[in-house]
Symmetry: C2
Subunit: 351 residues, 2 copies
DNA sequence: CTGTTAGCGCTTTCAG
DNA sequence: CTGAAAGCGCTAACAG
């Protein structure tokens, strides 16, 4: 607080009042003895400006601490440098990493990320979409929960990239991982170890992620000639209060020798149930998770998991969006990134 | 992709062209047979509008899918509903949780969060601040790395809230945890167990967090009458490639019986070093971390940690900012939230 | 209660 | 190469 009277009710506004408003382009132009148009050209580097004028303007802008008003620019150009990003839950490492990848790429291209989290219901998602519409976003990246938001955006001329899962019926790019393949590898790994009763914990959604992982689970069984016992396929809402109870019941009634959890949240629930029951991994049960998050490598034994290139997923989504924002026109494209099975101590042949 | 010709180079822009630009307030007004001003009043609910006109306008807006242009509004009102948020690293659970708390509170108040991550150097932070200035942000919340950004913002009339640490000399609100107290409790816990050689791993910064934690560490020693062996205080850059090597050397040369890591990243590094050396927690060394992140409860034994109300930190910061955004004027306020020591298996009397 | 008017700050023709 | 002029879409006086 050096140099500030600590007693005064100083607010930013108070201090600021002394300066009577932000510096505008007109101020800079005046200071440099040119018109606003010339100032605009000089500061944005497009159009002809004499070396001399440019220098004077750059100097004046610098000296006055000029910062261009983004709203005025957006209003005129009908397009902002803001990209809307919607994720389901920032507190889930998967989405945080995704957002980090997006943010990193956007920043490098001098775009801003407006982040919405807690994207759990379609209605909220649509509200988010309206916000991005209002901002004339350069584009929107979302881990969708419904199809309406993408439709609304695309219909209004805003490019959309779906990440992680695809729901839209509107034409838009998407970046996903090969869920079926990842799940098949994970399941085959268990079957190859000799497991014949492999439980699947899968979220109760209509998402392509979960459908793909379920498909991979079945494919692996088919390939191994092992019939799927449907009682071992547990469809769960990960945020329901009774998730762990239901997993416990599955353990009791289904007698699986291995569990494949289709995402990191369900893997954590399963792990907690096993820990609480003092079941030993991998001796009593084997466990595989989809989405390799940090704790899986830290616990003992480590959890075998299907690793996703999560940050890269975000980067790719941002790249696709930026291409279009910079004017590239092409048919909708779906990038499918490969997952990778990381084998750790939580899987072994059944006892 | 139902209903869409998959061969055509369909872009959002193509589809959109058919509609010739977004619906404006004037369009709505025209459709309802009023002037734009009346439409504005009706749609924003301020000023007098007859029930009849309001109904017609609301209907027209709905029917046309009107979404107000945020730039035009911001340009006119000289203030947007965007709040800038700057965190150091979204991939660190601490910052992700912080951002989640902020985002949640902002959304509830119908403000948008523009998120910048990777805030590691002051220069970048200032660039971020300029962006927020350009957007005429309603305010900015930051985990600061330098003092310039906050100054620049406050000087330009944008309210700032510092979270986690305080660096600004400009007058602004702040939300922090009582670092000294948390560190003192953690250290006292170790000293009470009988440890006499407690190492401190602390980031090499000029941040109030780290200073506070160092202070707490010293206070605890003073209170217990145990002199601090300065060779046990290790100042580290958490992102340096040799962090773990240096921790290893400390183990060899300092012979600590306990380690207090001043944040979750350093705690993880320490934990990895101990694991690699096959040192047993808590038998060979006790470990305490500052900032209780998820893995600390999952590893075996669990890591004793100073838990921070991280999400609440974010919520509080957002609340403080929103107060000012809504017009409250008051002297800068610092909210100090209490941390809480969570004792787990990683701490025990020295062998 | 409603419409007219002006203008936020910027970019972009279009003349010069 | 430069400036004048128009206008992006909205809101806020102000007069009716």
């Amino acid at each position: 607080m050096a140099g500030v009277d600590p007693g005064a009710a100083l607010t930013a506004a108070t201090v600021y009042a002394a300066h009577r408003g932000p510096v505008t382009l007109a101020d800079v132009a005046r200071a440099a003895g040119t018109s606003a148009s010339t100032a605009s050209r000089a500061l944005n580097g497009r159009g002809y400006v004499s070396e001399d004028a440019r220098a004077r303007l750059l100097l004046a802008a610098e000296r006055l601490g000029y910062v261009a008003n983004a709203s005025a620019r957006t209003l005129k150009q009908k397009r902002s440098r803001v990209v809307g990003v919607v994720v389901s839950d920032l507190r889930n490492q998967f989405y945080a990493d995704l957002a980090a990848g997006v943010g990193e790429t956007l920043r490098a291209a001098d775009y801003q990320m407006v982040l919405l989290s807690d994207n759990v219901e379609s209605e909220r998602e649509v509200m988010g979409a309206r916000t991005f519409l209002a901002m004339r976003a350069a584009g929107v990246i979302l881990t969708p929960v419904g199809r309406e938001a993408a439709s609304l955006l695309v219909r209004n001329g805003i490019d959309v990239v779906e990440v992680d899962r695809q729901l839209a019926d509107a034409p838009c790019d998407a970046v996903v991982v090969d869920n079926a393949r990842g799940a098949e590898e994970a399941t085959s790994h268990l079957l190859d170890l000799g497991h014949r009763r492999v439980a699947l914990l899968v979220p109760e959604t209509d998402w392509t992620t979960d459908a793909g992982r379920l498909r991979g689970y079945r494919q692996a069984h088919a390939a191994a000639g092992v019939p799927v016992d449907e009682r071992l396929v547990l469809s769960l809402r990960e945020d329901a209060p009774d998730v762990e109870e239901r997993i416990g019941r599955l353990l009791d009634e289904g007698r699986p020798t291995a569990i494949f959890a289709a995402n990191n949240v369900l893997a954590e629930h399963a792990w907690r149930v096993l820990r609480r029951r003092e079941l030993k991994l991998p001796h009593d049960v084997s466990l595989v998770g989809f989405d390799d998050v940090r704790w899986m490598e830290m616990v003992e034994p480590g959890i075998t998991a299907v690793a996703q290139p999560t940050v890269e997923l975000g980067r790719t989504a941002a790249r696709l969006l930026l291409e279009r924002a910079e004017g590239v026109t092409r048919p909708p494209r779906v990038e499918c990134l490969p997952p990778e099975l990381v084998v750790r101590g939580s899987t072994a042949p059944p006892a």
